[in-house]
């Protein structure tokens, strides 16, 4: 295991654990048939069950349980053969039943890990997963403080949406690692189709626990009180908040020397514009949620057969896919990492192109240099990209055959992209045609005749002087292949002697 340089230089080690909530990508809620679509008008996706009306009962969504199992399996967790539901009791206006159906002492899975490897080799970390459990989401409170009314409006569309809670061990050691790990987790969950992990829509939420381990002159390790950070709205915020918080704890330590256990656990909120964490109100005592087994639901048993079925439907997780791509297409680990990190659709696109042009390296270059750049510029995803794999393979194939060079290919790529026309049409309309052998011979003979100095230099052993001919050839006919021009000219010059 290598570690970031800053870690070894700092007078402390930062200890980070993450708690991640992800909304599962089910069509319907965890315990009723209501839709989970984001962004509908408030309180239009509700029924007696998710409204918590008297007499209503929950029925478990089997699809949600299967998705959660996929996530847990991919996180290398053990799946409990027997799991139950518990009620977590607390009063809040957006919690219509007065309790949340969650899992307390028998989560459906535990004891896993997820590895994160920096492709540039800065770090490699296996992060333990304490548990993954399933629970229902609450509604949303919207505090409308306009006109002094201070009204709170409640939208229960989200109430009952399935959530997976993933709790990591405090195994992360730098804010950069934490961010990278979250990226890897998100990638995994998106690959599995478990969640869209859209933080803007609230389908992925992260809280972080952080403290410092500070070696003392007597060899003892002093531990600062653990702080839980909330309100982080992006992975970048997580990295920034952790960086800020570690520095803040270090400064505080130097003044107070306060150690873990001497003060109650503190919760701090991340203020993104200000770039600082702020203490949230101290809870006088820790909340007592009065968990007890949910009597309205039956325990869930998971058979080996069911487990095998879920495992079979999982597909290749990113870590394995990176290796597979690198081996199969003879591309570098770095390239495989870049492609895989773009998601399953892009990998499929890449493999389609690579198969058609029978060259992974070339396909990978085109994807990274041309396709990905364009996607980034246009803010698009690969499924909406107008140049489909067939067209790109057609274009690359023409370059491979030597019809034109790569830079000419890029011009065609841009034209196909902006016009939406087929590659062949663009090639024809730009007057780009393959340069015939006779034409090439004639052009090279003309060049030789016009450039006695270069010819003399080449004859004198300076073959690199032939480069001067290529620039002129491109001016006479933009379609010529520079490699062919060079080879032909050299042949003709040698034949002169």
């Amino acid at each position: 295991m290598s570690s970031a340089a800053s870690e070894s230089l700092a007078p402390y080690t930062t200890i980070i654990g993450l708690e991640v909530h992800v909304q599962l990508q089910t069509r319907t809620k965890l315990f009723c048939g209501c839709s989970t679509t984001f962004g509908s008008p408030p309180n239009t996706q509700v029924c007696p069950t998710c409204l918590g009306l008297p007499g209503s009962l929950p029925v478990m969504n089997r699809e949600a349980f299967a998705l959660a199992m996929k996530a847990a399996l991919a996180l290398n967790c053990k799946i409990a053969p027997f799991t139950k539901w518990d009620r977590k009791n607390y009063f809040y206006p957006d919690l219509p039943k007065g309790y949340q159906i969650s899992q307390f002492d028998l989560p459906f899975s535990s004891d896993g890990f997820l590895e994160v490897v920096d492709p540039k080799g800065a770090f490699s970390r296996r992060v333990g997963i304490i548990r993954v459990h399933l629970e229902e989401d609450a509604g949303k409170s919207m505090h409308d403080e306009a006109a002094g009314t201070a009204d709170t409006r409640i939208d229960l569309n989200r109430a009952g949406t399935p959530l997976c809670e993933i709790v990591s061990q405090p195994d992360l050691r730098t804010p950069q690692e934490a961010r990278a790990w979250l990226n890897e987790l998100k990638l995994l969950l998106v690959y599995l189709g478990v969640s869209d992990c859209n933080m803007q829509e609230g389908s992925l939420r992260v809280d972080a626990n952080v403290n410092l381990h500070i070696p003392q002159p007597d060899g003892r390790i002093a531990k600062t009180p653990i702080v839980e950070i909330k309100n982080m709205n992006s992975f970048r915020s997580v990295e920034r908040a952790l960086t800020y918080e570690a520095a803040r704890q270090w400064e505080e330590w130097q003044v107070t020397k306060a150690e873990l256990g001497t003060t109650p656990k503190q919760t701090r909120g991340w203020d993104d514009p200000a770039g600082i964490t702020r203490a949230q109100r101290h809870k006088e005592e820790s909340s007592d949620y009065r968990y007890f087994p949910e009597p309205d639901l039956v325990p869930v048993t998971v058979s080996d057969a069911r487990l095998a079925e879920v495992r079979a439907g999982m597909g290749e997780p990113p870590t394995e896919l990176r290796k597979t791509l690198a081996d199969k297409w003879k591309i570098s680990a770095y390239d495989a990492d870049v492609l895989v990190n773009q998601g399953r659709d892009l990998v499929a696109y890449f493999e389609d192109v690579a198969t058609k042009v029978a060259d992974g390296k070339v396909a990978s270059n085109w994807l990274q240099q041309d396709v990905l750049r364009t996607l980034n510029e246009r803010g698009e995803t690969i499924d909406a990209f107008p140049i489909r794999p067939d067209a790109l393979a057609d274009l690359i194939g023409r370059v491979q055959k030597g019809d034109f060079d790569t830079s000419r290919g890029r011009e065609i790529f841009a034209e196909v992209l902006s016009s939406g026309r087929a590659v062949a049409d663009v090639v024809a309309s730009l007057g780009i045609a393959a340069v015939g052998d006779d034409e090439l011979v004639a052009l090279c003979q003309a060049l030789i005749a016009e450039n006695p100095k270069i010819v003399a230099d080449v004859k004198g052993g300076k073959e690199q002087a032939a480069a001067g001919l290529i620039g002129q050839a491109k001016k006479k006919n933009p379609n010529v292949n520079p490699g062919k021009v060079r080879a032909m000219c050299l042949d003709l010059i040698r034949a002169m002697s």
């Binding site: 007696p48 009306l53 008297p54 209503s56 009962l57 219509p96 009597p295 039956v298």
Partner: protein, 493 residues
């Protein structure tokens, strides 16, 4: 015979054959309600118009030669703990005084589909918590046999309306005896089915792991008829049983020869009224005469039933009733006097303080306490362990016997107000009934005699899981050999 005196089975036959129209049948019971309920207070809502409209619609369908349901034209009273989309559903609580559910309970849906006529919603102890019906926010129900006495609870309104012929059939719910105990005190027949036999969907929860809906009627045969409609699997209730529903009415004929009935020594403990003991002993004699054998069985943990029940039920209730917070529906306090941590906390506290009655508050506090950190293991977790022991007692006993029998309550109907000052005395009215719910099995109660002062004495049979056919058959056999169940209060008003 007047229609109001006919059995449910005969009423359904008469309507089907055209001897009696559904409207005539419904009117007969509505007339009884009008005449008597001012004194009895069994109904919180009488749906005269809705009932007559439904009856007329059934008559029209029958006349047109179209099909009618299994319970066509049968008036049914429904305990106000079951959701009805067209009627208020209050749980006899100020908290839900103006609540109208947007949906029907599964049982109500099944009744409507079978063309039963829902005549109204019956009074009960608030949120089904109580054994005397005195915890209703809308006044207690009076026992039709003696209006100065309690009808039992919590399904007191359902029991009283059947006893007074205001409905041939009522639906009740039983969490610790709430069908069987009032049936016993009112001299009618009440079945608490096996947990999960009747869907709980739309039954406003008191204690989810114990609640069960069941029929209350004048005979086992009538209960069997209703069970054929209301029992069955409901995919909307995860705890509902998938087992097929037997034709209960067709399974009544077999004799009781060879059936072993267990007599529980613990049932004859201190406090059993001698007149009740006598009635119960005589009932055992009737069963012997019918060919059954009576053997002694032990339920060693039965004595822990009441304390176990009064931990588990309030724990679940404290959570189930958290939703009545004044936010989304139900009573919301208008007071903004302040004095709380925040306006939100004030709204919670005042709404619940104003909306709930004292017994409901007592149980919410008991349950909240027992589930709290530091107490959970000593109370709730221990109660769950004892519950398992009680369940095991029943499993062991049912290896030796087919049914377990005894009194349904230790005394006949007690005076209104007699126990209201002593919650513990009130909790003991459930002494013989709570273990059935803790074990999740079925039980039935029915009259087996009368005291000298003319009050009914109740008998209880309990059976293994899904033994409803045997419970109904044994009771039906008893009722063929005796006439206690046919007796009616002579003059109510």
């Amino acid at each position: 015979m007047q229609p109001a005196e006919l059995s449910a089975t005969d009423l359904v036959t008469a309507v089907r054959q055209g001897d009696l129209s559904a409207v005539q049948c419904t009117e007969a019971f509505l007339a009884r309600i009008e005449a008597l309920d001012g004194a009895v207070n069994a109904f919180l809502k009488v749906d005269r118009d809705g009932a007559l409209a439904k009856a007329a619609e059934i008559d029209a369908r029958r006349k047109a030669g179209k099909s009618i349901g299994a319970l066509a034209g049968l008036p049914v009273a429904v305990k106000d703990v079951l959701c009805t989309a067209d009627l208020p559903t209050t749980c006899a609580s100020k908290m839900l005084e103006h609540f109208r559910p947007p949906y029907d309970a599964d049982t109500v849906r099944r009744l409507r589909e079978a063309d039963a006529v829902i005549v109204g919603k019956t009074n009960m102890d608030e949120f089904a918590m109580g054994g005397s019906n005195e915890n209703s926010a809308f006044g207690p129900v009076k026992n039709p046999w003696d209006l100065t006495r309690a009808p039992g609870g919590s399904s007191g309104g359902s029991a009283a309306c059947v006893a007074a012929d205001m409905a041939p059939v009522a639906i009740g719910s039983d969490t610790g005896g709430s069908i069987r105990q009032p049936a016993g005190l009112c001299g009618i027949t009440g079945l608490k089915p096996t947990y999960g036999r009747v869907s709980r969907r739309g039954l406003i929860a008191f204690a989810s792991s114990l609640d069960q809906i069941g029929p209350m009627a004048r005979s086992a045969a009538d209960c069997a008829l209703v069970m054929e409609t209301i029992a069955g699997h409901d995919p909307g209730d995860s705890t509902s049983l998938a087992a097929d529903v037997p034709r209960y009415t067709e399974l009544l004929e077999q004799p009781l020869t060879g059936i072993r009935i267990g007599r529980v020594a613990e049932h004859y403990a201190e406090g059993l009224d001698p007149e009740v003991a006598k009635g119960v002993d005589e009932a055992f004699a009737v069963f012997k005469a019918a060919g059954a054998t009576v053997v002694d069985v032990e339920l060693p943990h039965a004595k822990y039933g009441v304390p176990t029940y009064y931990l588990i039920a309030p724990c679940e209730a404290s959570s189930n009733l958290a939703r009545y917070d004044g936010i989304h529906y139900g009573h919301r306090s208008s007071s903004k006097a302040g004095g709380f941590d925040s306006p939100l906390v004030e709204m919670y506290c005042r709404s619940r303080a104003e909306g709930f009655g004292p017994e409901v508050k007592r149980r919410i506090m008991l349950g909240t306490y027992a589930l709290s950190a530091g107490y959970y293991d000593a109370y709730y977790a221990k109660a769950l362990k004892v519950r398992r022991l009680i369940r095991q007692d029943y499993l062991d006993a049912f290896k030796q016997v087919d049914l377990i029998a005894g009194p349904v309550s230790a005394t006949p109907a007690f005076k209104l107000g007699e126990k209201t000052g002593d919650p513990l005395a009130m909790y003991l009215v459930d002494l013989y009934t709570v273990a059935t719910n803790l074990a999740g099995v079925g039980g039935i109660s029915f009259p087996c005699g009368f005291t000298k002062s003319g009050l009914p004495v109740g008998f209880q049979l309990q059976g293994p899981a899904l033994a409803e056919p045997l419970l109904l058959r044994a009771t039906d056999r008893f009722q063929r050999l005796t006439d206690w169940h046919t007796r009616r209060p002579k003059k109510i008003v």
